[in-house]
Amino acid sequence: MQILQQLINGLSLGSIYALLALGYTMVYGIIKLINFAHGDVYMLGAFWGYYMINQFHVGFWTALIVSMIFCAIVGVVIEFLAYRPLRNSPRIVVLITAIGVSFLLENGMSYLFSSSPRDFPQAMQMVRYHFWGISISNIQILILVTSIVLMILLQLIIKRTRMGKAMRAVSVDPEAAKLIGINVNHTISFTFALGSALAGAAGVMIGLYYNSIDPLMGMTPGIKAFVAAVLGGIGLIPGAALGGFVIGIVETIVQALGFSAFRDAAVYAILIIILIIRPAGILGKVTREKV
């Protein structure tokens, strides 16, 4: 029964990684940038939810949606101020800028709100269900279900809407997309908005789940979500979701087997192995770069 229980733990952890990995993968897919500030957008989402619930006493769902909107705006602003001016610069320049934005957000928030952890308001009463010898809380179910619903919604937006079509076009060839009348800048902004909204949702849910938020909370999950995105095949949306769940479950298994001290090492080892053996990721097709 413990195995089943650990699987549930792994799935709820994995769904958060998956939500974050989606943001990485979408941005990478469209402008070939690893947005290292993504984990910090997740942190901002948690803080905004904290602020909304504490100051305006809104319910959990309102806080979740408002945080998603807030993070979408933050994502667009970051792209506009930090990445757009560098659109034609070498990729490494944008990458370093992303790390800079990440540091700015982390240390800025530490400076403004102190780095000590705060307790997230309990907007929802925790209830535990016991059956077949395992126990699952309503918040775990909520995280899992909300994540899956958001992923399906995302898939629908990308496959069924005009904007989604534009996103796919820009990711294939931005120049050609521009030639057929797609506004590339708008499309990129929209991508950042979508990815950041998902990160915001993850932030609020994590706040509710663990009841503790701090300005550096985005660091480790950010990097792990990046590993998840690479594992699934960076640039591929189903890959990011799959990668997230795999990383969550791997972490859980490593700890359950008694190697708790090597949990993070295992995740990074996966990154190294996948980069050596199958750089395109689990779902990625191996393509040769055209010269």
Partner: protein
Amino acid sequence: MKKSKIAILAASALMLAATFTGCANKAASEGNSASGNTITIGGNFELSGSAAAYGSAMQRGVKLAVNEINKNGGVKVDGKKMKLKLVTKDNKSDNSQAASIATNLTTQTKASAVIGPITSGAGLAALPNMTKAKVPLITPGGTQDSLTLQKNGKVQPYMFRSCFEDSFQGEALARYIYNNMNLNRVAILGDKSTDYAQGLIKAFKKEYKGKVVVTEYYQSGDKDFNTLLTKLKGKEFDALFVPGYYSEAGLIVRQAREMGITQPIVGADGFADPKLIKIAGKKNASNIYYTTHFDAKAPANDKVGKYLKLYKDTYGDDAGTFDALSYDAVYMIKQAIEDQDSTNSVKIAKGLAKLKNFEGVTGSITIDKDHNPQKPVIITKLENGVEAEATAVK
């Protein structure tokens, strides 16, 4: 032309260096003594920056003690009563500031003894300058084991503390769990990434007579302990020992209780923060035990009542741990001066090292050969997020 200039420069630099070393040598052989009728005590305090909460508590405790001593006539040296003069400086919770203030207080202010800094890191930074000037330093909060020891294992002659060290509380916890609570099986869930937790685990395992069923590790900053706790839940144990700080410990308490782990959870002074209860939730913060240095509920002697009242009357607030430890630090210096009948800093250090059965508000203190105080450890119990009881263990 150029060469001769360099030669002159070098020569003058040498001369300067010679003058400085001359000064240092003089200080080294003698240390600082009081001039006139006042003994100067230095305060190297964290009044701003990240450790400001501890530093200002330290300042309040020290001021309280100095004023009280002066009101009661002062310190008796050589048949006459001398007053204490406190000179405080703000080290901004910065290690390099702490080091330069140590120099300033010993060479400019000529302090006979210095209290602070309160953190182990800043204490380590200040120590070389204190040793150079041969002036003793008492830290009320630096609990790191290695703080009072040199690299070769010998004791640092000028470093003292009024708080107990990390391993001391680990051992006290082990004894308390086995002897007082009669629990024979302990599971450990410890922080892998801090010296603090590593020291606690080592000391605990050495002293505990029961069985350590399982030891699991987490990293500072972790938020999800469900996996580890699920695993622990499957084992049989009587108590869960969590060596770590409140930010992770709060989450562990919460997730453990939600999962249905009802056994007592014990920890060290890293638990002693109101945030622990906030993060864990009031209902979950039950059956929790942790060590502290000072607790009004477990007075060590009749001095405590007087101290609590004096503190409340002066500051309008309840006394806490670090002000009490700092208050004791001043009285330790007074005792050392009177024992040695001298205001010389080298002598004071000697007196501090020989301190025996000194009655402070945090208990009876005897300084051991490693300059660590042997004193009672207080174990506080939480029930529904409120401190239910506190007991002193030897």
